[in-house]
């Protein structure tokens, strides 16, 4: 996905951008509303991540003016105030969703996906691999005539493996990305999900290989 990140705190902006790029997203950063407008004029984005308090104005005014002008790029507001009234405000002003700082990137991604799905986004995310097509927005695998639905963790696991076929992902790495840090899980918990995903991949040319003692990788037969 291509993000426009509007955040004036340079350290946070840099960290968030780095973090999103780790997941394979493209990120442009804007430190002010005017920079954000310049970026929007120059390029199209799948999603805008918008801070509220910016040096040259209030993010909510930007939100209002964008919506009034009929531009409907999905906007997720990043708020630090977290007062109930602030959350309700931004939704009333036309934001698609909000996250409270500090946010969980897995949750942010889930919210982005939910927003895009709700918007019926035309975002071309369908990927083909070894005889299957994968649509992360609808969480479906299509193998031949058959369409299989993936549950969220299966979906995320497949996304990770598919991001770098043939590369070995360690159990620990997969756990970190699948489970929240607040959950205590053993590395073996991942096996359950690998097992399920394997069943859903049956009939396609894609296979999850166990690399003993190290982890898993996705291979095409």
């Amino acid at each position: 996905m291509r993000f426009l990140l509007v955040e004036d705190n340079p350290e946070l902006s840099c960290s968030v951008a780095d973090r999103l790029r780790l997941d394979g997203h493209a990120v442009d950063s804007a430190a002010s509303l005017s920079e954000a407008r310049d970026c929007l004029a120059a390029a199209g984005y799948d999603l805008i991540l918008l801070d509220i308090s910016l040096p040259d104005g209030d993010g909510r005014d930007f939100l209002k003016s964008e919506r009034r002008a009929g531009r409907d790029t999905p906007i997720i507001v990043m708020t630090a105030r977290a007062a109930v009234s602030d959350r309700v405000d931004v939704l009333d002003l036309g934001a698609d969703d909000y996250v409270t700082k500090p946010f969980d990137f897995a949750e942010l991604e889930a919210r982005c996906r939910a927003v895009l799905r709700r918007r019926g986004s035309a975002l071309q995310t369908v990927r083909a691999f070894a005889g299957l097509t994968f649509n992360p927005l609808t969480a479906t695998l299509t193998i031949g005539p058959e369409t299989r639905e993936l549950r969220n963790r299966e979906l995320r696991l497949f996304e990770i493996l598919l991001s770098a076929p043939d590369r070995i992902f360690s159990k620990a790495h997969l756990c970190d990305r699948l489970f929240s840090y607040a959950e205590a899980v053993t590395d073996n918990a991942i096996e359950v999900y690998v097992g399920r995903l394997r069943r859903k991949l049956e009939g396609s040319g894609a296979r999850i290989e166990t690399v003993r003692g190290i982890g898993y990788r996705l291979v095409a037969e």
Partner: protein, 458 residues
């Protein structure tokens, strides 16, 4: 230790009773005195008439004074009572007839009009009337004194009756006064009691100004009470602003820390570093959650005094919350189902507070549910109440009671490593209370927790 001053009511009643008692005693004395003197006047009238009648019959002659005692005079006296009668007629200092030892006034000048006085004679209290006449004997005037006495038993009996009557009147007057003083105390203290009631009836979070109509004397009290309330509200409002500011200033760097930690975790292969990074992320999560809930809690406390009292459609609210929590639940393969929210169920209340309460309940359900279970949100209107239930298949209450769990910063015994602040249920309970509803936390049949928020439909 200072003793509490006497209650106003008791003080007022006692003082009024004191006044009533004094008035009753005065009334008693007055009635008695007037009645006694009336009885005395009656006796005096009859005694005087008898004395005059005897004096009329005095006749002078050449040799001396002769008297033909008019027995009808004594019968007049006998007619008013059974008292004994004594008489004495003296001429020139010598007793002509009657009781020579009957006392006469010592210093009174002789007079034709009867003179009355009281004295004792033969151990009786007597009333004596004395009159003088000059009778010609041998053409010489001789002063004749006629004294008639009557014992006072009859009069005393009358006096006793009058005294009894006077006492009865006094007591009756006292009783009436006592009754009236109670009524007066009640009506005078009424406004104070009503004001105290109005203030006492307020909920613990009610910080609206007191606008109870009160009499002029109580107005300074009400004014200063309202002053206190306003200052308290100001302090709460500053606290809320402060917490919001603090949250803002803490959250931005925390977000940086979290993002960096996640990046480091992703890029590191060393187990030790990874463990450290996980701990950092958990700590960040915990502090941000605490900050949110402290702020929520401050908001609840602050808003409760000026409740945005409008119609809130619970079905819309519940659907919105289900949607906004969808992605979070999805991350753990949890599904959120909503039932009973197809048609509007409207309550009177503060949307933000209700949302805050429900958000906390749903957050809890998501946190404590095992993956791939369902969180059931339901809405029902029955018996004039709206019931919102959040049911999960989580770990239940772990043996702790609801009052315990709802206490500030108390968490279940079975939370293990789940991050939380212990403020969530406190917020829910306070919101329920503010809206005149209730909050019920029970173990769900078949495992899990059932949290019910019951609000009055108005």
């Amino acid at each position: 230790m200072k003793q509490a001053p006497m209650s106003l009511r008791r003080r007022l009643v006692l003082q009024l009773l004191g006044i009533a008692a004094v008035l009753a005693i005065l009334l008693y004395l007055t009635v008695r005195t007037v009645a006694n003197s009336a009885a005395e006047a009656t006796q005096d009238g009859v005694l005087g008439a008898a004395t005059m009648a005897i004096a009329e019959r005095l006749q002078g002659g050449d040799t001396g004074v002769s008297l033909d005692l008019p027995y009808e005079a004594f019968s007049i006296l006998g007619s008013i009572s059974d008292d004994r009668i004594f008489y004495r007629v003296d001429a020139n200092g010598e007793t002509l007839t009657g009781y020579a030892d009957l006392p006469l006034p010592r210093h009174a000048a002789p007079s034709v009009e009867p003179v009355f006085f009281s004295d004792f004679y033969r151990e009786f209290a007597v009333r004596i009337a004395v009159t003088n006449r000059a009778v010609l004997v041998n053409r010489q005037p001789i002063l004749v004194t006629v004294a008639v006495a009557q014992t006072r038993q009859g009069q005393e009996a009358i006096a006793q009756r009058t005294a009894n009557l006077a006492a009865a009147i006094g007591l009756a007057a006292f009783a009436l006064a006592a009754l009236l003083s109670m009524l007066t105390a009640g009506s005078v203290l009424g406004p104070i009691n009503r004001l105290a009631d109005a203030v006492g009836r307020r909920g613990p979070h009610d910080l609206r100004a007191v606008d109870h109509p009160s009499p002029e004397e109580l107005r300074p009290l009400v004014t200063s009470l309202n002053g206190f309330i306003a200052r308290l509200r100001g302090a709460l409002s500053r606290t809320e602003t402060f917490i919001a500011e603090a949250a803002h200033h803490i959250r931005t760097p925390l977000a940086t820390v979290r993002a960096r930690a996640e990046i480091a975790l992703r890029q590191s292969e060393a187990d030790e570093t990874r463990e450290t990074m996980r701990a950092v992320i958990r700590a960040v999560e915990e502090s941000s959650r605490s900050a949110s809930q402290l702020l929520d809690h401050a908001t609840v406390v602050y808003r409760s005094d000026r409740l945005a009292d409008g119609p809130v459609d619970l079905s819309k609210l519940l659907q919105g919350l289900a949607r906004s929590h969808g992605p979070t639940a999805e991350l753990r393969d949890l599904t959120i189902s909503v039932s009973g929210a197809d048609c509007p169920v409207t309550v009177q209340g503060d949307r933000l507070l209700l949302e805050s309460a429900l958000r906390n309940l749903i957050d809890n359900a998501i946190k404590y549910s095992p993956p791939e279970t369902e969180i059931a949100l339901s809405l029902a209107a029955r018996d004039g109440k709206a019931v919102i239930a959040v049911r999960d298949r989580g770990r239940g209450l772990g043996g702790r009671s609801q009052p315990e769990l709802a206490r500030r910063f108390v968490r279940g015994a079975n939370v293990d490593d789940v991050v939380g602040s212990g403020l969530g249920l406190t917020i829910v309970e306070e919101v329920a209370e503010i809206h005149g509803g209730s909050f019920l936390l029970t173990e769900r049949k078949g495992g899990g927790t059932c949290a019910e928020l019951v609000l009055p439909l108005r």
